[in-house]
Symmetry: none
Subunit: 204 residues, 4 copies
DNA sequence: AGTTAATCGAGACGGTACGTCGAGTCTTCCA
DNA sequence: TGGAAGACTCGACGTACCGTCTCGATTAACT
C-alpha cells in the first residue's frame, strides 16, 4: 500500500518484511506511537533504514500495513468467517453479541495501542485516514449493513431506514467512548445502545 | 492549564500570551498540526522559545489553551447563552436545530483544523485527551443532558432512558463522520439521526 | 573599572559588592571559569542580575575586579611592603628569593584558577588583556626594573642592558611554564633561570 | 584527535572535513574566537551540526585540528625542512635569524587569531592545552634543543647548561609579549634577547 | 523626620547557541 | 541488485545564559 514507485517487488525479502511488522507493533505497544521511530523499527528489526523507506512512505504507513497483517492473521486464526455479524433471526440479540465481542477487542491491549495510534494519525493525515477507513473500518461496517438489510427483509427493521446510517446509532457511540475516552465501555452500555437504537428513546 | 510549577503568574506578559495564541492558531491553520512547531510559534509571535516553555509543556498544550481561548471568545461574541440547546417544547425540532448549528461549526475551517488536531493528539496523549474532553467536550454534552431531562419531565422521552447515553445516539455518529471522515455531513443526515434516535429503527 | 556611565556610586551597596566578589571567586574556583555564569554569581551572591550589570560590563570584568580586590587584601595582610623585590646587595640571591615566592604563589590554588582564567580571557579579549597587564602584571614587573637599576648602579649589571627586557629572561620562562604547562615549576628551575640570565649560556 | 568513540572513520566524508576546517579558520579570522560557533561553522561549511559533533567534541577541538592541518600544509608548501633552526656554526646569528622568522609568523594575521585562540582555550581547558603543547609547541622547541646541543658540541655553549631551559631565555619572552601583549615585538627586541641570553646581563 | 529618588532582589522577557534526536537521502560493501 | 549499515544534510527539540526590562521594597541623601 502506498508503495514507492520503482523497486522490484519480486526480489523483496519476506524475512525483512515480517521483522519490520513485528518490530513496529512491538515498539508501538512498548513505548507508544509518538516515541516509535523509523530508526527504532529498523534497529529492532535488524534492517537498514533504507529497506523501510524503499517499501513504505512513513512510519504511519508501516504501522497500517503491520496492523492489517495482524488483523488478517487474527482472522485466519479465529476461523473461516471473520467477524461476520451472526444472523439468528433475533436482531437485538445478534447485535448485542457482536458488540460484546467488539468491546472485548477494544479492551485487548494487543489491539488497542496500534489501532488507537492509527486512528489518531488518520485524523490529521487525510490520506492515511482514508486508507484506514477504507481498508479496515468500512469493511467491518458493511457487515452491519448486511445484517440490517436481512432484518429489513424479515420485517424487523423499517423499510425506509438507511442501514448505513442506522448502524452508526450503536457503533459510533462505542467508537467515540473508546477513542476519546468520554465514558466507560461495558456490556451493559452496548446492550443499552442496542435497545435505544432499535426502539428509540421516545415513548412508544 | 497543565502549567509548569514555578513561575510567577502575576508578572506574566499578557501581550505575549495573546501573540502566542494567535500565532499557534494561525500556523495550525496554515501548515497543519504536524508542521506547526514550537519554534515556529515563537518566531511568529515574536517571542522567545523559553516564554512558551515557561508557561506550557508542549505544543499540544499551547494549542489546547489557544483553542479554549478562541472558544470562549467566540461564545462571548455570540451572546450571553453560549451553545445552549433551545427548548421550544418540540424536542425533535430543537435537536435538529442545534445539530444543524453544529454541522456549520464543524465545517467552519476556522475551527476545523485546530479542533481536529487537538482531538487527534488527545487520542494518543491520554492526559491531553482527558483535558480536552473535560474542558471542551463534556460541558457541551451536558447541555444535551439538560434538554433531554426537560423532555423527560414533559413526557417526550421515556423515564427509564439515561440521557447521557441517549445523547450519543445522535452526537457520536456526527462526531465520528467528522473525525474519521466515514461519511458526508449534511443537514439531511443529522435530521435523519434525530428521527432514528427518537423513534428507533424497529417498526413501531 | 570599565564602569557603565550613569549610576550613582555613592548609593552603591557595599554588601552586594563584597558578596559578588566572593561569589565570583568561589564559583571560578569550584566549577572553573567557563561554567561560571553571571546568573550563577548573582544567585550565589543573593543579588539581582541587574546589580551586576549596573556596575560591571561582563563576567570577565567582575572577575578582574574581584581578583584585584583579593590581591589587595592579600597584600594588606602580608605586610606593608607588597611584593617589593628585596635588595640585599646580592642580586642573584635576591632574584632567587623573589622567584621562589612567586613559585609558591603560582602553585597556590587560591590564586591559580582565577588568575589563569583572567590571563586566558585576556589573550582573546584585548581590552581586558590590556587592563590585566596594566593593573596587575606591569606593576609587578616594574619592581624588577627598579631592582635591576639598583644593580646597575652597583655595577652588578651592565649599563647598556635594558632592565625591562632583562627581567623577561627569568620572568617570562616561569610565566610560560605556568600558563601553558610546558614544564615543571620548581625552585631548582627558577634558580637555574637566574643563573643563566645573569651570566649567559655561552662560555665566559 | 580527541574523537568520539563509535563512528566508522573509513566512511568519513573527506569533503566535509576540509569544508569544516576552512569554515572554522575563516570564521575565527573574521569574527574572532568567542563569536565563532559550532552552528556557524556548520552553516558556513554546508554541513549538518551532527557531522561536527560526530567527529569532534567541541569548537576548540575543531579549531585545534584545523590549525594543525593548516600548519602541516604550510610546512609542506614551505619545503622539506619545516622550521629547522639553521646551523651555520654561528649560534647567535642562527638564533637571530630564526627568531626574526618567528616574529614574522606571529604578526601574520593568518596565524595570529587562531593560534592565540587556541592558546587561550588551552590555558583554561587543560586537556586541550596539553594537546596543543604536545602537538604544536614542543616539537618546535625541540628544534632549538637540537641546535643548542650542536653548539655545545662546538664549544659555543657551556656543557653544564640544560638546553631545554636555555631556550626559554629567548623563546618565552617573545611568547609572553605576543600572548599577553606586554610589549612590542620587533627584530631589535629578539636580537637583544639573543644577546642577553648568550652572554648574560652581568658584566663579563 | 519625612520625602524622594535611586538602588536593590527578583525574575520574566526576546534572543542565540547549545548538544541531541530523528527524518529522509545517499553511499559503500556484502551476499 | 536488494539489503545491512551507517554517514550525511536538515530541522526541531528542550535547556542554559545572555543582557534588557519591569516590578515592588528598601534605603540613603536631601529637604
Amino acid at each position: 500500500m502506498v508503495d514507492k514507485p520503482a523497486p522490484d517487488a519480486t526480489r523483496r525479502s519476506e524475512k525483512s518484511r515480517r521483522a519490520i511488522y513485528a518490530a513496529a507493533l512491538a515498539l508501538v505497544g512498548e513505548v507508544g506511537y509518538p516515541k516509535t521511530t523509523v530508526e527504532g523499527i529498523a534497529a529492532r528489526a535488524g534492517v537498514g533504514k533504507q529497506t523501510i523507506y524503499r517499501w513504505w512512505s512513513s512510519k504511519a504507513d508501516v504501522l497500517l500495513e503491520a496492523f492489517l497483517d495482524l488483523s488478517r492473521q487474527a482472522a485466519r486464526e479465529a476461523g473461516q468467517e471473520p467477524y461476520a455479524v451472526p444472523d439468528t433471526g433475533d436482531l437485538a440479540a445478534d447485535l448485542r453479541t457482536v458488540l460484546r465481542i467488539t468491546v472485548d477487542q477494544l479492551l485487548d491491549p494487543r489491539f488497542e495501542v496500534p489501532s488507537r495510534a492509527l486512528a489518531a494519525e488518520g485524523l490529521v493525515n487525510e490520506q492515511l485516514g482514508r486508507e484506514f477507513v477504507t481498508t479496515l473500518l468500512e469493511p467491518q461496517l458493511q457487515l452491519y449493513v448486511a445484517r440490517l438489510r436481512s432484518a429489513q427483509d424479515a420485517g424487523h427493521v423499517r423499510h425506509d431506514v438507511d442501514p448505513r446510517i442506522a448502524l452508526e446509532l450503536f457503533v459510533s457511540p462505542l467508537a467515540q467512548r473508546w477513542l476519546q475516552r468520554t465514558g466507560p465501555i461495558t456490556y451493559a452500555y452496548t446492550d443499552t445502545l442496542v435497545d435505544y437504537a432499535l426502539h428509540g428513546i421516545a415513548p412508544r
